[in-house]
Symmetry: C2
Subunit: 452 residues, 2 copies
Amino acid sequence: MSTSDSIKSLEALHPAHPHYDHSRPHVVIIGGGFAGLEFAKGLMHEKVDVTMVDKHNYHTFQPLLYQVATGGLEPDSIAYPLRKVFRKAKNVYVRWANVKHIDIETQTLSTSLCEIHYDYLVIATGSTSRFFNFENIQDKMLTLKSVPDALNLRSYILQNFEKATAEQNPEYFQELINIAVVGGGPTGLELAGALGEMKQQILPLDYPEVDLTKMRIVLFQAGNDLLAGMSDLASEKSLKYIKELGVEVRLNDRVSEYDGDVLKTEGGFQMRTDTLIWTAGVKATFPDGLPEASINKGRISVDRFNKVVGVDNVYAIGDVAEMATEDTPHGHPMVAPVAQQQGKHLAKNLVNIMAGKETKPFTYNDKGSMATIGRNRAVVDLPNYSFSGFFAWLTWMFVHVALLAGFRNKIAALFDWIVNYFTFDSPMRLIIRPFREEGVGTDTSLKETLKR
Amino acid sequence: MSTSDSIKSLEALHPAHPHYDHSRPHVVIIGGGFAGLEFAKGLMHEKVDVTMVDKHNYHTFQPLLYQVATGGLEPDSIAYPLRKVFRKAKNVYVRWANVKHIDIETQTLSTSLCEIHYDYLVIATGSTSRFFNFENIQDKMLTLKSVPDALNLRSYILQNFEKATAEQNPEYFQELINIAVVGGGPTGLELAGALGEMKQQILPLDYPEVDLTKMRIVLFQAGNDLLAGMSDLASEKSLKYIKELGVEVRLNDRVSEYDGDVLKTEGGFQMRTDTLIWTAGVKATFPDGLPEASINKGRISVDRFNKVVGVDNVYAIGDVAEMATEDTPHGHPMVAPVAQQQGKHLAKNLVNIMAGKETKPFTYNDKGSMATIGRNRAVVDLPNYSFSGFFAWLTWMFVHVALLAGFRNKIAALFDWIVNYFTFDSPMRLIIRPFREEGVGTDTSLKETLKR
């Protein structure tokens, strides 16, 4: 690694930055998600320059995206500008850019903004939706992986209800108001629960002219259980709760066909719907340039220290990293706590590497998991104890407020939740996307417009 | 007017509405702005069916759009879902649709949703930007007339700052960070003030690597005074305040040329900027179908009762309506209070018309006007008294909170303002538009993408 190259590149990248120091190693982290955030925070007071590159200018608190999608929270409450997070860090620089290619020979990234040379590179680019054999029709489906996704979803459902008010054809009316959620993991379950509440509490007030007894919300789960990764109690209770909210659940059934209008399953089930929300799978996503030997089934192979196998000075953390150990032959689960712990751990290790000291292998400390299904209902798995119901819901609420970044967001989310709780009525229902001058109701398919 | 036609059309429009009553006249109001809202509220307990049609599903509190554009407020605080406003009204139906054509013979509207027959029609479609001789280059400019506009503007400015962090070419760097605001009315002035505050307080913290001494915010006003419609005190003080915020003001100068990169004025002034925000004019906007004799210089000619001249059963209120009187030979100013008062007044008159009673001509009661220029600074004109400074700012704040629709929005806005006031730091800075899968920095011009 050439230090002079690194300096030249840094000067170009940070031409006028008052804190920039020529003599320090340059660590580049791609991605400001849970992993990247913890990693960069861990280096805030160390003798390195850290450049964080992300395709958004904000960190997204993904566990609450479903609340933005269903109008319970505003997007600004669950997203936090990255520049603000690192405002007080004198050695962390944030850049809004798309990384296109990693050149591991010259240790340079090609990005949409400029070229960036690294001394150490950390890949924390997370995951995106995995459509399996539906890759070719993904334009017909909606997803919930980002703030724009969530806003799209919210507008999309409301737009369809507006259209339903004047729809005379019963089949197309059905198509507009039905919703299919594919995937019985936490995202699909929590979203279906919030939609069920919307159907019970908000839609009857806002759309008295739409016959809601005809509306179906169906949750599809390929396996035997909802929340397959959690305890039996969690699976049982969540099934009970979600049914109480009027959501139909199809277990052991898989969507086999969808043409934008009609959904069919392997089990012979069939329904009309314009709204299919896909939460059934995720896959790692990262820039190209890594050797094939470093990639295994779509994830980046790393050793116990999160170093990418076969590549010098490059690390991977979070969803993208597959650390195969005896306990985790296929890597760790692609969840936020793993990402956070790997980020924190790698920051410590990297400081030791640069100081020529010993490093420690990563071990995952599973503190448990939780999911909420509507008001007063949640399931919580602690390492040795599982519980559900109102107290679980309070736990869920407390933990999520505590995890939100920033004082303003904590208060704003808490305020909206309290208002929603007592009024049974979440306030955010603006159709703000898409905006086209010709307005609503042109011939272009809405879904395609929404997803662009 | 045929009552049976009206019933047929209403049945199609409200097929399953539980409150729908066949025997009542059908009043259709196009537009849920200040005029439309007051009008429909005025008919909430009368024996009519009111259908409100709007191209947004929410009412926009336009006076605070500039705060959304500069990140001081979230969009959900200044917009309010129309269905929620009229939830308790058993005779007001809201429809999200674009009205394309008015057929005054058959008393039918063609909309993107369905055909709508009216017994009485009220046009309250407001105004849009007026570009004068810049009509052909309006795609190169930004505007501030709607929530999507405001979100675009916010994202646009931040995107340019992100790009500026890596820009080596000094001219293009200048282009990215400079901002031109055209129009010295309340919108341009308040926006320029908020931008000036952003430059002083927020940008230095978020973009330490950008040399802000090079950033210029220039406000262009064709006439002699800012806030031309207000008192001399208001014009003088607002000029003083806006300069204190670091905004350059060019009075008596007009933009003559803009190619997306360089702006030139008639007075020979020239600056590079990628960001030209146009607030210099508005014009009425309404569906076609009215006879030419009813239209004068782009506005709809109405009599003293807001009835459209020469057309039966059709009324116009707010910005679209030109009511030429002795006091107002060119109609009333296109401002919110006129719209609200006309809406309220017409509702009363219409009830009287339907009851065969006498109607009263409209008179405008000018209660004064105000504008705010940054923290602690505002100008207020009451009918017989003008004042400025901190107390004017408190007045501004109090009035605007009181005017915001809904308890949640009042509290949310107040909360954000208090946080901003004490932290000198508004929290909303997400670049959420545009979202394109290929991400940032493709070759497409950002401005065109943003404005679509």
